[in-house]
Every structure is written in C-alpha cells, then in structure tokens.
Amino acid sequence: MLSTALVVLGLGVAPTTAAAYETEVDATTDAQFYTLRSPYGEPTLRRRRYTQTLGLAVYGIQGDSVPYGPELSFKARMRLDVDFGQRIEERDPNRGAQFGDRFVPGLEQAPLDLMYAYLEGRNYAGGYLGFRLGRQYVIDALGMWAFDGALARLTTPVFLQFEALAGFEERGGLPLSTPRWEGDGVYRGDRTGYDYDRWPMFLEAKKPAPAWGFAIETTGVQFVHGRLSYRKVINRDTVVVAPFADAGQGFRTVGGSRVSSERLGYAVRAEANRLGALNGNVVYDFYVQRVSEYRVGLDWYTTDEITLGAEHEYYLPTFDGDSIFNWFSQQGMSTSTGRATFTPSRRFDVGASGGVRTFRTEGNSGQYALNGGDRSETGTLHDLLADLGGRYRWSDGSTGLRGMLETGARGHRVGADLTTNKNFDEGLYDTLLVLSLYDWSDELRPERGVTSFTYVVGGGFYPLEQTRLGLEWEHSINDLVGQRFRVLATLDVAVLR
C-alpha cells in the first residue's frame, strides 16, 4: 500500500498539464518472510523484509523531439530496504549487557538509498556530444560501478567515441548510498558514535572518494567493437591501520589521499557474419601491478541451428587499495570451457557446456611440509564443471531445464531446476512452478553435505495494466534444515503519463 501512496505522491509531483515531455512513475514492493538459522543452531535470524523502490523518469525535457536531434531525460530510483526481523541489540552497541554482545557494526534496519538519479543528454552539438549528470552506473570491462558526478561522451566521425568521467564513488558510509559499488576487502562504514577503540577494524568511511576515468570505444562498426576503460578512485578517510592497540592503548592511523583502485581494461568482440565471433577482455590493476583478469572466447556458427564455442578465463581477486587481502592473492584461478547450443526452432533451444576450473597455489599442498616450504612449484587443484540448459516456449508460457555440476577436491555440487511459466486469460494471470533438486558435499565440512529438494509455486494477477500483484511460496526439504519456507509477496505499479 505504501507503493500506491508513493505512486500517488509521484503523480502529485508529475506535471498534469499537456507537455512535450513524458513522465513515468513506478513503484515496486517486495515483502519476504523466511528464517535463517546459524549452522550451529543459534542464533536464528527472522527475516521479515520489506523492500520498496520508487522510480521516476522524465523524457523529452528538451521540448519537441526531432529525429536524431537532442534528447534530454531524467531518471531516478530510490530504495527503502527494511528488515523488521532485526533485533535492537544488533544495532545498539549499548544493549550488550542486557542481551549479550550482538552488535553488528554498520547494520541498519531501514537503509534508504538512491540507486540512480541522473540527467542524460544525447545528440547535442550536432549529435557529437552526450552527457550524464548525477548518480549513475558504468558497465564495462572493469565491471559494474556507480558514481556521483559527470560523464561526457564525444562521438567522432572516425568510428571512435571518447568518454571522460569525474566525480565520487558511491560508498556505503555516505548518505543515500550502499557499499555495493565500492572496492571490496575493506570493512568500513560510518563510525559516528563509535569510541575510537570500539571495533577498530571497522574503518571510517565518511569522506567522498574522488574518482575519474576515461574510455575510448569504437562506434558505428558492426563487425568489431572494442572499449578501453581506465578508472581511478582515491581513498581520503583517516583510518586505523593495525587493528591492535599499541602500548599506549592507541591506534595508529593513516590519512591523506591514496589509491583505492586504479585499473585499465579492454574488452572487444569481433564477428564474421555467418562464421562466428571472437570476444575477450583484459584488466590490469595498477595497484597490484598485475593482470587481474583476462578472457578469450570463440564462437563458431557451425550451422544455422548449432553454435560451438570455447572460452578461457583467468581471474585474480583484487581489492580496494586499503585492503590487505590484495597481498594474499597469489596465483588466481582459470577456467576453460567448451560449449554447444542447438536451436532447431524459435520455440526450442538447448545448450550444454563443460570444462575445468584450475586453482593454482604457490607450492604443492601435498608436498609442502616435506620439501621445506618450496614455493617454486605450482600446485593445482581442478574442478570439473558442466552446465546443461534447454527451453521450450509456446504462445503463453515456457518450460525450461537448467542443470549444473561442479566437482573437485573440495566437494561437489550437482543439480537441476525445472521451471515452468504459464499465463492465463490473455496474460491477466501468470503462474510459476519450479522444481529443484540439488546434491552437494563440502570436503572441509563433511556434515554440511546434503541432498535438497525445493519447489516454488507462484502466481501473479494484473488488476490494472502495468500493475501486478504476485505471491510466491518456496519450500525446501533437506537434512540440514528439515523444512524451510519462504514467502515472497510483490506489488509492481507503474503509471505512465
């Protein structure tokens, strides 16, 4: 109901008189109810989650629309994510005496974040200039990322476009922000109200982190497309270094500007119309001074129905420049797979892939203690992996099977999901059925291996155009939990003006 109220509020803000521009207001409401029990039995977390997003988009702000002419639009989305199942002692550090120490730094009951809010211009300066101002996402070889600032795009007549961006990285410790997009490996947030010696390993994140970068991308060429991206982010907060008090019961700190991340990446794909495609990417991390990932993939359009492909990927985990975990990453992992897809008709397709993932270590784990800690030898552990998927679609529904296997020295995971969707009454109602069977084992924790069956039944109803009311029931059955239930209720409302 809050969503309805928010939409009404949005409508109040939206113009009601005739205008060249168009406004779109939508709201999504998700309520989730489930229980999570620690593998040790206690504590038990009651998740009573309520998530509300409210989106606003205004198009055609520039006035009359001319084909290929300037376009100005604004898009924004806010999100409220509440967990009513949290206990107050998890958020209040002063309740320890009463309930025991359950305080979790950074935990919020109802964080509100601005997912994105930007003004976007396209086709300015004769079509050569585009821009975005505000909180926005960037997606490229360096991954997904969000920042507050400006991005300008210059398209040239020589099949290239240039992009420059500057602003501040979205960080969890700042208002209306989540830590989702910042560098990983650092436990940080807003320490307001914390004594200096309370949770010293929870670092301060209060100052905006300046970021800038550029990209060069091909444009207008169908058979090849590449994008070179560079990004640099700076940490500025004064933070504790060693999480141990010194002799004077103080903590040493470091401040000033220092690198959070600095990376250069390139991604490319090339296609020969009927023959196949080649794609790949590489990322160099300037802080770690190593190639942190690369991938090369080849697809062969064997026939109109069959595609065969192969891919090799390498990944070395890297982290925020403030993180010590950068220096625990050693050899990384690589994955080689082959794949085949068969699409005999538009209604039916099936795909399968298989390969091996190799984890490398410095030193042979089996011989290390015997050979005096020789790190020159590279140890390898292999996981075999396979995927199988197939779908059949008809006019008002589809059914699909997805199976997977990964097995190696540290355990295995194998299973499949059968998912069926069907609409009724010309889409007035929709239904969902998922049957899922998985088996897994964990060689480091043998007691956590199990075979698990889950089913999900759900349905939706469209009382109005653009409005959907949905309900899902999920039931898992296995020896670890006995029975686990989850209920998801959704309400999506969109109003177009």
């Binding site: 998700d30 997904m144 060693a242 040493r252 975990f325």
Partner: protein, 455 residues
C-alpha cells in the same frame, strides 16, 4: 392455417437440410474452376501461385532477401506477425508478362509508415483478369479461367454469397519508410529478394535485419539517414528504448548481432557482451532491469536456486557464480555472517560456545602446513575468506610482532608474522607502497626493515 403450418414445416426442413449439406459439404474445390487435367503441370495455371514455388520446391537462396540464410525459417515472426494468405498470386508469371512491381504496388512510392497497406485494390486485377470488382458484394467474374473468383480466392464458394476467406498481412512491428528508400533508388529486390522468380510471395520475402545492415551501418557522425542505431528501424518506447514485447512475441537479438543470442547459456555469457559495448544492453533494458539482479534485494531463482542459504558456501568457494558480480563481500556477506555467528571476529554472543567452522586449529592454522591448511584455501579463492573474515583475523598471525600480531610463536611478542606475499612481490612492493601504504602498515611497523627495503 394448416397449409401455412405445412409450408412453414417444409421451409424448416429445407433449411435444416440446407444447413446439413452446408456443414458436410466439401470445401471450395468443388466450386472452383476445373483445371484442365490435360495440361502438363508446368502449364497448368491451377498448380501455380499457391506457394513460393510449385511442388514444394524451395526458393533458392539467391532469390530470397539479402541476409536470409538457408535454415533461418523466415524473418522474425515477432517483427512480421503471421500472415493469412488466401489469395493465389503468381509473381513470376506477372513479371514475365512485363508487369513491374510498382504497377500493382504503386502505393509504395508514397508510403512513409510501415502500417500502410501496399497491396493493390482488386480492381487493379480486373483489366487483365476480366473480372469486375467495382461493386463489393456484386463482383462479376470474368469469362476465362483466370477470371473466375475461385481462381484467385482460395476456398471461394459460389454458395457463400461472394464471401472470401479472411486475408491478412498484419503491419510489421517496425518503422519503415518505403518512399525514402525508393527515392534513393533502392530497388525492391535489395530488400525483398528476387520476387520475380517467386510465385506466391510469403513472409519469407520480407527483409532480414542482417540484410538491412548492408546499408544501415553508417557511423553516427557520418550521418546520412541509413543509420545503424536500433531505433532507426525498431519501434521505441519512452526514452528511445526499444519496444521488445508484442502480441506476436518477445524480441530477442539473433546470435550474429553482437554475439548476443539470448540462448539457454546467456546468463553465463552476457557479461562478455555487456562489457565490450557500453550501450548495447540499454537499447532494450533499463537500469532497473540490470540492477534487479546485480544490486537486487530479492533472490533471483535463476541464479540462486534451491536451498541457497545452505548451498552457497560451497558455491562461493567454487567461485561459481562469482559472488562479487552482485555482492560486496565485506558488507553484504560479512554482515549476515556476523549476525549468524559464522565469523571469527564478530558479536561474541553469536558465536560463543559454537564448534569449529573450519577443520581443527592443529590442521587448519598451525604449522606445519599440511594439505588441509587454510593457506591453500586462501590461495585458491581469497574471495571466500573475505566474505567471513575481517583483516584483523588474518593480521593476528600475519602481522609482525611489533604491530601486535601474534606471529608464529603466538602471544604477540615472539617471532615474525607469517609472510603471505606472493612470489615476485618484492619487485612490486615499492609501487604499492607509494600508491597506498595503508595495507603495509596493517602488518608492518613503519620502521620495519622489510618495509624500508620497499621504500
């Protein structure tokens, strides 16, 4: 009175019989003009114009539209919804008689929107076929075989009062300006193939997107109107985003278009396409669409099936899927693990009295480093460690004694920290120290000779 009732009864019976005859009557062929069975098939007009080529022959690739391929099954039925062709028409024959495309399809010259019907009126046929279509409902047949109603109208029956079977060519879900193309001297065949070699032109003679790209790949700044942006031809919604859902289905890219076939393994493959092209996905998808998974708050069943809460530890160690694609480990993962007591450093009450999560300390952390030692796990996939541990957990042993680390000997005053650095670190440490000294100082005292070496 009796006579009147008898007449009514007779009329009722006659109607009933008529109805039954109508129901069980064989369809149109009985009413259609009889073909001359003496003619060889090639000359028999009755076997022509009912299919692209007679006798089920396939149209050669050279005669199909540019961009078509042998097994493509025709153009997208989402763009060109299913047609009902209840007219016999032999394009090949008409072309051989010297009739050009625009003789019949003259409306194409002025058509600027795809919803225009470019079919000729039936009166256009009359001059040659001898028929007279001027008065609807009172159409007069010609005297020859080709002038008979049933010659062209498939399933036509005289008894139906000049009704014909429904015929429909739905407008395409596409923008198209025939006039502009004709003004640029773009021949019909450049989009439709050699229709003059085809008898009945079906949807298969409609353009293929791959064919359009023969011209529509001009770089944006080069301008011209044959631009390659999706919205040049595809219908759009607010903000210029492509409309992808139609009554005829959902539009998905073909595999040759940016290698982006949304096949059954698309969920594993999509990052390669998205990473290389900053704007390709946003032609059809909103920010919200991407973020529902990549920054979502509702578990997507496609990615995290079954009892994911119990299955995810093994998946995280396998790095399949990569947690960091959607989660920040030191907040999303760690926060929940601290609440559930699955951490080394965290709220004490949550893990007090629990058993070991990892193998016993003597195996997992103490020297000598056996094959089950945590060091190997950390090297295999440090991400799995980062989702539960804060740096303090590592620094306890790996930090040097002078900054409080316990060191190999334990107790915080004996021995040196355990070196976790990878081979070759010495050659990189100066650069790292210069860019950000903070992680160095977590484990090393500023006066540590090892740190000074790096300076």
């Amino acid at each position: 009175m009796m006579e009147r009732e008898r007449s009514a009864a007779l009329l009722f019976v006659a109607c009933l019989v008529g109805l039954l005859v109508g129901v069980f009557e064989k369809p149109a062929s009985a009413q259609a003009p009889s073909p001359s069975t003496d003619l060889p098939a090639a000359q028999n007009p009755m076997v022509h114009g009912l299919a692209p080529l007679p006798a089920g022959k396939k149209v050669p690739l050279a005669d199909r539209p540019p961009g078509a391929s042998a097994g493509d099954g025709g153009p997208s039925p989402v763009i060109f919804p299913a047609q009902k062709l209840t007219i016999r028409f032999n394009h090949k024959k008409h072309k051989a008689l010297g009739i050009s495309c625009t003789t019949c399809h003259d409306k194409a010259r002025a058509s600027r929107v795809s919803s225009d019907s470019l079919l000729p009126k039936a009166t256009r046929c009359d001059a040659c076929h001898g028929s007279d279509h001027r008065v609807r409902g009172a159409v007069r047949a010609g005297s020859d075989l080709i002038g008979q109603c049933g010659f062209c109208h498939i399933g036509y029956r005289e008894t139906d009062g000049q009704r014909t079977l429904p015929f429909s060519i739905p407008p395409p879900n596409l923008k198209f300006n025939h006039a502009v193309h004709l003004e640029r001297n773009i021949d019909c065949a450049q989009c439709h193939g050699n229709v003059e070699n085809v008898e009945l032109a079906t949807a298969d003679q409609l353009p293929r997107m791959r064919g359009c790209f023969g011209c529509h790949q001009m770089p944006v700044p080069a301008r011209g109107t044959a631009r390659g942006e999706c919205a040049t031809c595809h219908l759009t919604e607010r903000g210029g985003m492509l409309r992808s859902n139609f009554a005829s289905g959902t539009l998905i890219p073909p595999r040759w278009l940016h290698n982006a076939a949304h096949g059954p393994d698309w969920i594993e493959r999509h990052k390669a396409v998205a990473g290389a092209d900053s704007q390709f996905c946003s032609n059809c998808h909103t920010d919200k669409y991407c973020m529902d998974c990549h920054d979502g708050r509702v578990r997507p069943l496609k990615v995290h099936p079954n009892d994911w809460l119990n299955m995810h530890p093994i998946a995280a160690r396998q790095n399949n899927p990569d947690c960091r694609s959607c989660h920040h480990e030191q907040s999303f993962c760690l926060g929940c693990h601290q609440r559930a007591g699955v951490t080394m450093t965290g709220p004490y009450a949550n893990f007090a009295g629990r058993g070991n999560f990892h193998p016993p300390k003597a195996i997992w952390t103490d020297p000598p480093r056996t094959s089950a030692h945590h060091a190997w796990e950390a090297q295999r996939n440090i991400n799995a460690c980062v989702s539960c541990h804060v740096e303090r957990d590592c620094a306890i042993c790996h930090a040097t004694a002078r900054v409080g680390g316990r060191g190999i000997g334990g107790g915080g005053i004996i021995g040196q920290g355990v070196n976790p650095h990878p081979t070759g670190f010495r050659s990189r440490c100066a650069g790292a120290l210069r860019r950000n000294a903070r992680p160095c100082l977590v484990c090393h005292d500023p006066a540590d000779p090892k740190l000074l070496d790096c300076r």
